[in-house]
């Protein structure tokens, strides 16, 4: 089903495990070499930065190719333009298939660009001329993404597929009137929990499965949506905007207390499970969601002034981190605050420096320019590096 060479995909993962072990000093040079010989990979996968450039350029090519078609059919009816969009999208897939089989592109930027461009062109080509409703749009996108995921195992497509599945649930339940509306969050949570368990089991069972990446994406996307469905802000504001409730600031929502509990408790549970299972991605998800908790609470209850909240949070964070740094100097229960792999240290420090300068950039020249505070960006991944 998958377009790429299955053995090579497995070998990519095996090689990654060997590289990791090499970085930790578990295996030596010779063993790594032997392993690489045993697990050949014939894919063309360029360096990350090159792939990023190729992705951008491929999107430019797809966009302007469709542009030319549009100029050619500029006087035609919208439905003709829609058909042309779909045809251009199909052309993208044809080129993609050809390049995968002849040039062996894999995560090369070009294949992703063609895939995303193709899916978008076909989706809008069908959706826009027919003025499809929410449910039909979601189903259409879901089907396209199922194909994209099964055939190419792309992570972004996996995420979009999941989101469109949630959207299908949403638009389906709306049809059942007020009762349907009120059980939407619980239906979404149940669905997310199920998909999480399926993805988790499947991932554990399959040894070097070609869909491992997709399963991991599904696992964490499930947890993300599980939280979102129970979040007070999401629940209240979605209800408000979709069903025109015209809530004002003081209005509460039915079962608000339950959503408040879910908002606060779920990230804590994630954090505890993440620590127990030593699951780094889950720990990061929990950290991000804990920040979401703070923003959610502050949105409805201004407990402290902004500056006081920032100062208190800053002191707390520095305090906790300082304590843990000291406490985990010697490893306890398998945790350590020391850096294990020293291989790409310098690179990480360079990235860190760039993040610092991004967050604290002064504004235009003037007498206030040195106040670099108040910017919450940075911190996480830096897409710009």
């Amino acid at each position: 089903m998958i377009a790429y060479n299955k053995i090579w995909i497995r070998n990519v993962e095996k090689r990654a495990h060997c590289n990791e072990a090499f970085g930790q000093g578990i295996i030596n040079d010779a063993a790594l070499k032997a392993a690489f010989e045993k697990y050949p990979v014939g894919f063309y996968t360029p360096n990350f930065f090159i792939a990023l450039g190729l992705l951008l350029l491929t999107l430019v090519v797809v966009l302007f190719s469709f542009g030319i078609v549009l100029v050619f059919f500029r006087d035609a009816h919208t439905s003709t333009l829609g058909v042309m969009g779909v045809l251009t999208g199909i052309a993208c897939f044809a080129v993609l298939e050809k390049l995968i089989s002849s040039k062996k592109y894999y995560r090369a930027g070009i294949d992703e660009g063609l895939l995303w461009g193709g899916v978008a062109l076909i989706f809008f080509g069908i959706s826009l001329p027919h003025n499809l409703g929410g449910l039909s749009n979601s189903v259409l996108l879901f089907l396209l993404c199922v194909f994209g995921l099964l055939r190419y195992g792309d992570r972004l497509i996996g995420f979009v597929m999941y989101a469109s599945a949630i959207s299908i649930i949403f638009f389906l339940f709306i049809r059942f009137g007020p009762i349907g509306k009120s059980i939407i969050p619980f239906a979404v949570m149940l669905f997310s929990l199920l998909t999480y368990m399926v993805a988790d089991r499947w991932f554990k069972k399959g040894n070097y499965n070609v869909y491992n990446n997709s399963l991991l994406t599904m696992k964490y996307t499930s947890l993300l949506f599980l939280y979102a469905a129970g979040n007070y802000f999401v629940e209240r504001e979605l209800n408000n905007s979709f069903f025109n409730l015209n809530l004002v600031a003081e209005d509460k929502i039915p079962m608000g207390w339950l959503f408040w509990i879910l908002t606060v408790v779920i990230p804590i549970i994630y954090l505890l499970i993440g620590i127990k299972k030593k699951d780094r991605s889950l720990i990061w998800l929990a950290i991000v969601l804990l920040a979401v908790v703070v923003f959610t609470i502050r949105f409805y209850h201004a407990v402290l002034s902004l500056e006081a909240a920032m100062t208190v949070a800053g002191v707390l964070l520095i305090g906790i981190a300082y304590f843990l740094l000291q406490y985990l100097k010697e490893s306890r229960n398998g945790f350590t605050s020391k850096e294990l792999s020293g291989k790409d240290k310098q690179e990480k420090h360079n990235i860190e420096a760039l993040i610092i300068s991004e967050t604290f950039s002064p504004g235009q020249a003037g007498n206030r320019q040195d106040f670099g505070g108040g910017d919450f960006g940075g911190g996480g991944a830096s897409g710009n590096y």
Binding site: I50, I68, L325, T336, S337, N350, I356, S361, G372, G373
Partner: protein, 329 residues
């Protein structure tokens, strides 16, 4: 972790490709399962420093005139002095080479010290007009402190802050994102200042390596220098519309310089940045050409769109070749 999953090492071991010793090591590692939260804790520290200094910054401004405000200012001074004291007390003595920081916390104490120092200077200027109308001096002093701190304590983040401050002192905002977004480049002086700053930064990068004075600062200098130079010459092309072809020359020169540099450094990052900026320059020149020779007709539209496609494909081929070249060397 993945106890139920068969690991690649079991397979390698059973086929005799992995020595018994290595396999044993892997099993030990697996059972010990040491989990490092180093970067998680660093992120928390960083967020803490951002929030604390940001909170203080807002606090100082909002409460100007009230009594509590002196207390806040005093605590800010205390934080700043305390952090600097901590750094001087625990920091290693100066060296021309890279100094490993004594502990993880150290770097963030220094960052907090520098950020609160900037806030204090900014406040003094705002409230008492300490430097009068000489705004230059109000940015010059923190800049000097930042550079001294960066060199003495060996801190790349503070160095970046120093470079940003240098640019602010010269009158432009200068981080890769802000360069593109916040700058009003419709100003001759700013464009020439940008070119000048870019050259200065590249020289600083060159000197760091040549005289082995903080050699590892090179990347930070040259990264800023590269973006500043490219954006400045591109802005020159857009701004001086009548002589845009003349401005294309320095642009091509800068492109060629960084092309050579990416080869010398075997840097994929530099070649990506160079390719993308150069692509923008080429597209601009082409659009101007089409505009002046064909005008805005349908033919021009086709020609323009075709050019976008062909040049993008050409860039794709170029990047693929560069990938091979950089890998091979």
């Amino acid at each position: 972790m993945n106890t139920t999953r068969e690991h690649v090492f079991d397979e390698l071991h059973s086929e005799g490709l992995l020595s018994e010793a290595s396999y044993q090591k892997y099993r030990e590692h697996q059972s010990a399962g040491l989990f490092s939260v180093h970067w998680e804790l660093k992120t928390l520290l960083y967020l803490g420093v951002i929030l604390l200094s940001g909170g203080f910054g807002i606090w100082v401004y909002r409460n100007i005139g009230s009594i509590g405000h002196q207390v806040i200012l005093l605590s800010l001074v205390l934080v700043c002095a305390g952090c600097f004291f901590y750094c001087i007390r625990y920091g290693r003595s100066f060296s021309r080479n890279k100094i490993e920081s004594p502990n993880t916390f150290f770097d963030y104490a220094l960052l907090l010290a520098c950020l609160s120092f900037i806030t204090i200077i900014g406040y003094i200027q705002y409230q008492f007009h300490f430097f009068g109308e000489r705004y230059g001096l109000a940015t010059f002093i923190p800049m000097v402190v930042l550079f001294i701190s960066a060199y003495y304590f060996d801190h790349l983040g503070v160095l970046s802050l120093g470079i940003t401050n240098l640019a602010a002192w010269l009158g432009i905002a200068v981080t890769p994102i802000q360069l593109l977004r916040a700058n009003d480049f419709d100003n001759d002086r700013i464009i020439f200042t940008g070119v000048f700053l870019g050259i200065v930064l590249m020289l600083a990068a060159f000197i760091s390596v040549k005289y082995k004075f903080k050699k590892h600062f090179e990347f930070t200098y040259s990264n800023f220098g590269m973006h500043v130079l490219f954006v400045s010459v591109l802005a020159g092309m857009f701004h001086f519309e009548d002589i845009y072809l003349l401005w294309f020359l320095p642009c091509a020169g800068v492109s060629y310089f960084f092309y050579r540099r990416s080869l010398a450094r075997k840097s994929f990052y530099i070649i990506l940045v160079t390719t993308l900026y150069t692509y923008v320059a080429l597209v601009y020149v082409a659009v101007r050409f089409v505009d002046s020779f064909i005008g805005t007709t349908t033919a021009a539209l086709y020609a323009g769109f075709l050019y976008f496609i062909i040049s993008a494909v050409a860039m794709v081929i170029f990047l693929i070749r560069m990938n091979r070249k950089l890998k091979a060397e």
